[in-house]
């Protein structure tokens, strides 16, 4: 059964190579388990509707704006785990971050805000928040 053995070895090598590739991909993602006990707080600056192409996020810690952080949002529609998205945010003012993310459906969305000291660093905290997304009425 040498040929079968060779196929198994190749499949195992492919599996290991795939895990390495997934690890590399995970390093660029911000999907994190939320940390509800964090001293950080996050909220969108304005009500959110399905027509907005980007959102402004306000991020603070103990009431003070968090500046200079690498912020990444991942979202999941409540009850529809296949509707998830994630995007990196860009700081536009101290504690104000613009996120190029559009919520495609009205309803309640669970958002996790991953905050890292700098880009590429592991997130220090993942802040959970819920957003009630309205319909923009534009179909």
């Amino acid at each position: 059964m040498k040929r079968l053995g060779a196929v198994v070895v190749i499949a195992l090598a492919g599996f290991v190579a795939a895990l390495v590739q997934f690890d590399n991909a995970a390093a660029g993602s911000c999907m994190e388990e939320p940390d509800p006990g964090s001293s950080h707080s996050a909220a969108f600056a304005a009500p959110v509707d399905t027509g907005q192409e980007s959102q402004v996020l306000l991020l603070s810690r103990d009431g003070r704006p968090v500046s200079g952080a690498h912020v990444c949002l991942s979202t999941e529609m409540e009850g529809m785990t296949g509707m998830g998205m994630s995007a990196d945010a860009r700081e536009v003012a101290p504690g104000r971050y613009e996120v190029p993310i559009r919520f495609p459906m009205p309803g309640t969305w669970e958002v996790t805000v991953a905050v890292a000291r700098e880009e590429g660093a592991a997130p220090e905290v993942a802040v959970p928040m819920k957003v009630d997304v309205k319909s923009s009425g534009m179909g």
Partner: protein, 280 residues
């Protein structure tokens, strides 16, 4: 060397205990099936590679490239991530249905199993060996999916393996697939092979949470309840729990319990059918 009077001393191997004989027959049956697989690799490998490769290629490479990513521009990576465990489960169950089930139908039809059931072991030994050999084939088919899904998609796949869950759900899913193959192989006849595909395999794969999570079926409660009868659902959800962080999935206790239940139930049905076939 001669003996006095020209008598030849009788030589006889020490008799084996029934348990040892059963174990020897079981191993021989498994090795025999794996040897057949070795001879048929030119059929097994393309079928194990092509099906997941096509699914991954169309849904996670082609669709984003032509501007129709599933989940939208921002959700495409999430969809690719959720799809991977579904496709692993899909490959596992297809290996069970077609490598074990179809081959068994042909062997039963050609009465090729007589030699194995003549072994000094219970008839169920050959049937259980089919499940084990099928589970090993399903395991190889599952491994093959990972490199396909790692390098083919146009978007990142964010997999975070929970090893204890992965290393327990994967073998359990493979055994359940082997049991399903045994049961189907004894319930269907070779000429009903196309029926097996269109009536069993296809609905099973579309309603097995391969392309979506069970949780996301909440808006359609009738379907959400109906798919609970599908063993593929528990494989997909279990593997999703084992590989994707932050995703809602069926409780692991339910996944383990129902998969084990399916494996046992289908094995009992399969062994019963196997015995009925070889004794008539």
């Amino acid at each position: 060397m001669t003996t006095a009077g020209g008598a030849i001393p009788a030589t006889r191997a020490a008799p084996r205990s029934p348990r040892a004989a059963t174990w020897a027959a079981f191993r021989a049956c498994v090795v025999r099936d794996l040897t057949v697989l070795d001879k048929n690799l030119q059929r097994f490998v393309p079928s194990a590679v092509l099906q997941p490769a096509l699914l991954v290629f169309v849904f996670t490479y082609l669709f984003p490239l032509i501007g129709q990513p599933v989940g939208g521009e921002q959700g495409a990576a999430r969809f690719s991530t959720l799809l991977l465990p579904g496709i692993v489960a899909h490959s596992i169950i297809f290996a069970g249905i077609f490598t074990v089930g179809m081959n068994l139908m042909l062997e039963l039809d050609a009465e090729e199993l007589e030699d194995r059931v003549l072994a000094p072991a219970p008839i169920a030994t050959a049937a259980v060996a089919k499940i084990v050999a099928g589970a090993l084939q399903a395991f190889v088919a599952a491994l093959i999916v990972f490199p396909v899904a790692a390098f083919l998609p146009a978007t990142d796949v964010d997999l975070q393996v929970d090893w204890p869950v992965f290393l327990t759900v994967l073998p359990l899913a493979c055994i359940a697939a082997g049991s399903l193959g045994l049961a189907l192989g004894t319930l269907f006849e070779p000429r009903s092979g196309p029926l097996l595909f269109s009536v069993v395999a296809l609905p099973m794969s579309f309603f097995g949470a391969v392309f979506y999570t069970w949780d996301s079926l909440e808006p359609v409660p009738v379907i959400q309840d109906a798919v609970l009868a599908n063993p593929l659902l528990y494989m997909s959800e279990g593997l999703r729990a084992a590989t994707v962080a932050g995703v809602d999935h069926l409780s692991l206790a339910v996944v383990y319990g129902v998969l084990a239940g399916f494996a046992i139930l289908l094995a009992v049905v399969g062994v019963h059918g196997f015995r009925r076939h070889v004794l008539t």
